[in-house]
Structures are given as C-alpha cells and as structure tokens.
C-alpha cells in the first residue's frame, strides 16, 4: 500500500489538491475532535469540505453541552457523539477506531476550533506520500523563520522544552510536539486505535510512534488564532500539563513497548 502510494507519487506532481482517484492514494478521513465548539465547528467542517474535498469529515463531539453535534451535522459532517467528555485523547481515538472500522487509509486530525487551515492538509499529504515509510506527519508552527504564534510565554516555553527533550529521545528534530494538526497512515491508525494517551496526547504520541519504529515527519504550517471556545489547556492547567506529560514520557521511556501489542496484558481493550 505504501509502496503503491510512493510510486504513484513519483509518476507526476499535481499543483492542485490531489484527487484520491488520480493518485490512487486511498480513502481519506478528517477527524475533528470538538468539545463545546458550537461557534466554530460548522465553519471548520465547511472549510474542510471546500478546501480539502477528498477528505470525508467526521466530527467527534466529546460530550459537548452545547449544540456542537447539531451544527456539525448541519454543515455536512458525520458526527460521532460521545455520551460524556472523554478528553481530547479519547475523542481522537474514537476517530481512529472509526477509521479502522470503515477502512480508511489516511486520517487527518484537525482541531474543531478553527486554528488549523484545511488547505494545508495538502502539504501534510505531500510529505506523507513523498517520503517512503513516513507514518505520521505533523504540522509545525515553528519551522518557518517568520512564525508568529501568539501564545503566552509559559505555553511556548513548555512546547520548546518538550521539543528539546523529544528531539534527543527520538533522534530527529521535533519542533512542535504539541501540534494537533496531523496526518496518519494505516499503520499509525492501527497503532493509535489500540492505544492512545488520555489527557494531553500529542507529545506522548510522538514517543509511541518512535518506540514502534514508525517514522514521522514535520512540515511547516500556519495556524490561526482560535476563533472561539477555550483551549483544552487553561492557564491553571499548564503546570499540571507539564508534570503529567513529563511523567508520561518517563514512564513511556521505561516501557519495553509504548503501545499495548496484541497478546499483551492490558487493563482495557479499546479497539476491536
């Protein structure tokens, strides 16, 4: 599958967004986790359908108390509504399980708050299909020299600390480990459908990808400032975030395998 995609990629570069049929690159799914994003989610879904038309769109409503699900459905997305809030990790994982059950070959993760630009998915897809064996592509805010990311200094410091640590662990430059703008191939989908971190999953996911000998790449993207709603990481939670992710990274490093493999003991079996 990956070789096919790779060969096809070499056969000709198209300037427009690649059509799934022409490239033969398989079925594409955009997973949009959304928690109380009624003000932004419809716009995100519409933007995806306009600027990334090859992607089917599924919104995972993470137990919202507003009408996020209704609006997403009205905008044309398939909606999976979780009965209560699982947190971003559980919501995204529901998307992976959906993709696995419905036989999707690639999953894009796009935040429900409108900070990711759907047109940039093309860059992620290009990086996935141009490099052999790239299983996860992350959009990074910090690769371009002229990046502007108006975040509080504490948040940026946290991001750069984890970037520094991860770069040393995985042995390849990681500039934006907290980015939730990502593209996964079928190997990454199968991995994360089995096991995905709970609370703040992005940083740990990179370690899991590395531990399972999958490969990742980063591409520069621009991100918008949030339109509405609240970040999953509030100011008061910054410290908890740092400590929790540090502990998770340390525990992950001490594990023989970062993800539960078939046949290994696990408290809960998530997929299948």
């Amino acid at each position: 599958m990956r070789d096919d995609a790779f060969n096809h990629r070499n056969s000709g570069r198209e300037p427009t967004f690649p059509s799934g049929v022409e490239r033969g690159s398989g079925r594409l799914l955009a997973v949009v986790p959304a928690y109380n994003e009624a003000g932004a989610v419809a716009q995100v879904v519409r933007a995806l359908r306009e600027r990334a038309p090859d992607f089917d769109v599924i919104v995972v409503d993470d137990g919202s108390t507003d009408d996020t699900a209704t609006r997403a459905r009205a905008a044309g997305a398939t909606v999976v509504k979780l009965p209560f809030n699982l947190g971003i990790g559980g919501a995204v994982q529901a998307g992976f399980v959906y993709a696995l059950e419905h036989g999707y070959d690639y999953v894009a993760q796009v935040d429900g708050d409108g900070q990711h630009e759907p047109a940039e998915l093309e860059k992620l897809l290009d990086a996935m299909l141009s490099g052999p064996g790239v299983d996860m592509v992350c959009g990074s805010r910090f690769i371009t020299a002229d990046y502007r990311y108006p975040a509080p200094i504490s948040r940026r410091t946290g991001i750069h600390v984890f970037a520094f640590v991860l770069t040393r662990i995985v042995g390849q430059p990681i500039s934006d480990p907290t980015s939730g703008f990502r593209l996964y191939n079928s190997r990454a989908i199968a991995l994360f459908a089995r096991d995905y971190p709970h609370d703040y999953p992005e940083v740990e996911a990179i370690l899991m990808v590395h531990a399972h000998r999958l490969r990742m790449a980063e591409v520069p993207v621009r991100m918008h400032v949030r339109d509405s709603g609240r970040s999953s990481i509030g100011k008061t939670h910054s410290l908890y975030y740092m400590i929790k992710v540090s502990l998770a990274l340390l525990a992950g490093l001490m594990r023989r395998r970062a993800v539960v493999e078939p046949g290994e003991p696990a408290p809960v079996s998530s997929a299948h």
């Binding site: 003000g39 716009q43 519409r46 459905r73 009205a74 009965p83 209560f84 709970h198 502990l247 525990a251």
Partner: protein, 133 residues
C-alpha cells in the same frame, strides 16, 4: 526524631514512589491519579530527610514530637486522596448511569428495528449564527 524512624520513613516514601511509578509503567494507574500519590510521597520524603524543616513545622503548629507532625502530614494526604477518589467515583457513577441508559435505548432500538432519531434541525437559526460559508 530517632534515626531509625527516619530511615523507615525515607524507605517507605521511596517504596511508594517506585511502586506508583511501576504501576504507571504497567498501565495499571493513570498519570492523573499517580501524581497525587507521588506528591504525597515526595513531601514525606523531604520531611523525613530534612529534619530541621519538620521540627520547625511541628513547633510552629505546637506538636511536641516531630515524628507526630510527620504522621499528621501523612494523614492529611490520605484524607486528600480519599476525597479525590470520592469525587472520581461520583463522576464514574454518573458516566456509568449515562452509559447504561444509552445502551438500553440502543438495545430497544435494535430490537424493534426503529431508525435512529433525527435531530431537530432549525436551519434558520443555523443560518443566523453562521453568516459565512
């Protein structure tokens, strides 16, 4: 505080730290719950090692024997953990209730072959609030 009880306290705190970390590593304990245990163990460890802090603390609140202050601190953490668990259990019970209800409704629907309920859609309101698109 005698040096034997000091060594015992240090050993116990270290045991808790290592044990909790091992549980996280084996995925038997989520980081969220491990952190409170680790904080408790770390405070105990600091107080057990740093005798001066413990005796300052105990004289400040009027406890004659410093080792008793250590027990008080440990007891406080135990109470905090218990409260934390009560909150967690309450949340889990709520989630469990919701799951049971949803499952029962779903079962009934599959038994009768009734289609999924359509959401009430109000296209005008949608158009009002989302002018772009």
């Amino acid at each position: 505080m005698g040096s034997r009880i000091q060594i015992a306290a240090i050993g116990f705190a270290l045991l808790v730290l290592v044990g909790v970390f091992e549980l996280v590593r084996r995925r038997r304990l989520r980081e969220r719950y491990a952190l409170l245990w680790m904080a408790a163990a770390l405070v105990m460890l600091v107080l057990a090692i740093w005798k001066h802090l413990l005796s300052t603390l105990s004289s400040a609140v009027g406890i004659a024997t410093p080792s008793n202050a250590l027990f008080v601190v440990a007891l406080a953490f135990v109470l905090l953990l218990l409260l934390h668990f009560s909150v967690s259990v309450s949340r889990l019970a709520d989630q469990n209730r919701v799951l049971a209800q949803r499952l029962a409704l779903l079962e009934e629907r599959t038994r009768t072959g009734e289609p999924a309920p359509q959401e009430q859609e109000d296209p005008e309101r949608e158009a009002d609030r989302m002018p772009t698109g």
